[in-house]
Amino acid sequence: MSAVIEARGLGKTFRTGRRTVHAVQDVSLSVSAGEALGIVGESGCGKTTTARMLLRLEEPTAGQVLFEGEDITHRRAAALLPFRARAQLVFQNPFDALNPRFTIRRTLAEPLRNFGIPEAEHAARIDAVMGRVRLTPASAWLDRFPHELSGGQLQRVVLARALIPGPRLIVADEPVSMLDVSVRAGILNLLRAARDELGLAAIYISHDLALIRYVCERTVVMYLGRIVEEGPTAELIAAPRHPYTRALVAAVPVPRVDQDRAALPIRGSLSDSPLGGTGCAFRDRCPHAMPRCEAEAPALREAGQARRVACHLEEGAPS
């Protein structure tokens, strides 16, 4: 299967005054049609910046982004239009993602107009997509304004807007974190159905491994701008290899009374982590840190079937 989107050694460096911040470093990943990839990590780990680079909302400072085999890394804004139609974003906050002065109809017509779809087709397309996100009958919703809708309904509109140009890739950045628990499942199910039925490539960004497990077959874990582990989601959760992944898995709250309440296998907090220098970025919080971790950054290596880990402990481990 060929990749819909591929990142090769992607990096983003921000310069603020004298300081240089490596928001993302050396991220390589690819997602095929019909596949969903999860990117997990804490805030500030670079997951959102990575996604924004994949969508070319941010220009990478290193590496390449390939969409359906074409290099779009440094393509100019005007030339990105065909790509925009094929790579869409589902926003985190549905209360802020829709123009408050546009009706739902106008919101959905906007991409159709911009991507040059003949006006005659608009009504049918809008109707079809409203059906797909289960806002039916469409006529009851299309003339409303965003402030008249609940969070779950708004997120359906956001999803509809992303689907209407017929994309090949959908990126969802924390798609349900702002929604009430009772409606989250509805949105996740719609996203899953859209991917399955339309054969989309999907990328989910979240700090919540439980959510990622529900929607993604494969997951990468990011820490301070780098991928530290990658693998099939179920395996990654059942048998995490990187110490950071282990802490992340242990920290996910579970809705059961009987559970492990032991202290997390991690020390300190994110702000204690070294900002630069050589060595592993996780070493100050790692319960297994050794002298070598100080001296040398571990590379992301193959570690068994479809798995990659960046940890010195994993070297020489049976693969």
């Binding site: 909302l57 804004a77 239009l81 974003l89 802020d96 408050p100 002065r101 906007e110 911009n114």
Partner: protein
């Protein structure tokens, strides 16, 4: 309809804005019906018998008396609303148009465009208003066009600054990014998505510009750079001054246009003060 109801509810809660809007409304109505309301032709030289009816005091026939050349003050005052509104509205529209455009470009595009516009605005704001207008008037034909041009050239930075900061915060909103993802060009984002959001703010600055323009026109006329053939409050003041109305105690001549100017300028500020609460709720909390 919904907007009208919202505006009414707002005005009821904000006494400042209410008074300001009431003054504007009164002036607009007066201007529209000036020909019906004015008891005399403002330029007509009235006579009592053979003699020119100069310096008549307040009386039932002449509610505000007459001028040195025997013209009815009330009629001049009423007709003056037309030129005041004309100057005020034209200037306000031009100010708002330039200011909004500049603010939009600076705020949305950022980078060198922003730097250029901000620098330009700083230069313009440092120019003194009256001398600038006098020079411009001296170089060209005196008249209302010069006044409007001056107000437009010198007042846009105020609007531009506010619009710019508003746009700076709007462009961080997710729906602006969504517009980009769904294929909008920068031009479309600026004019279709962002512009409608800042128009209320622009209109507010326009209401202040109306007051400024009227003040400017009055100053220009008072200093003799106005169009002597129009009937305006500024020209009235200038005539009163030239004919030493002050020394003669003809307060019924110079007070009404003075008060009219002051109240109209004040109305603009009252509206803006009142609506600040609406537009910048955080400001009002403090």
């Amino acid at each position: 309809m919904r907007a009208a109801r919202a505006a009414w509810r707002f005005l009821r809660g904000e006494p400042f804005a209410f008074v300001g809007a009431a003054i504007y409304a009164l002036i607009v109505v007066t201007a529209i019906f000036a020909d019906k309301l004015a008891p005399h032709d403002p330029r007509e030289i009235l006579r009592v018998g053979r003699r020119v009816a100069r310096y008549l005091p307040i009386s039932p026939e002449h509610w505000l008396g007459t001028t040195s050349s025997g013209r009815d003050v009330l009629s001049q005052l009423i007709w003056g609303t037309r030129s005041a509104l004309q100057v005020g509205l034209t200037a306000a529209i031009v100010v708002v148009a330039i200011g909004t455009l500049m603010g939009l470009l600076a705020g949305y595009l950022g980078g060198w465009v922003d730097k250029l516009i901000t620098r330009l605005a700083d230069i313009v704001l440092s120019m003194p208003f009256l001398p600038f207008m006098l020079v411009l008037a001296a170089l060209t034909q005196p008249g209302t066009t010069v006044v409007v041009a001056c107000v437009a050239l010198l007042l846009w930075p105020n609007t531009a600054r506010v619009i710019r900061s508003q746009v700076l915060s709007l462009r961080e909103r997710a729906w602006v990014e969504a517009a980009r993802v769904t294929g909008c060009s920068n031009t479309r984002i600026m004019f279709v998505h962002i512009l409608p959001q800042v128009l209320p703010l622009a209109a507010l600055y326009g209401s202040v510009a109306i007051g400024w323009a009227i003040l400017a026109e009055a100053s220009a006329s008072f200093l003799g750079f106005g169009d002597p053939n129009t009937v305006s409050w500024g020209v009235m003041l200038q005539e009163a001054y030239a004919n030493q109305a002050l020394g003669r105690g003809a307060w019924n001549w110079f007070t009404p246009p003075g008060l009219a100017i002051v109240s109209m300028v004040l109305a603009g500020f009252m509206i803006s003060r009142g609506s600040e609460k609406l537009l910048f709720p955080k400001l009002a909390d403090k």
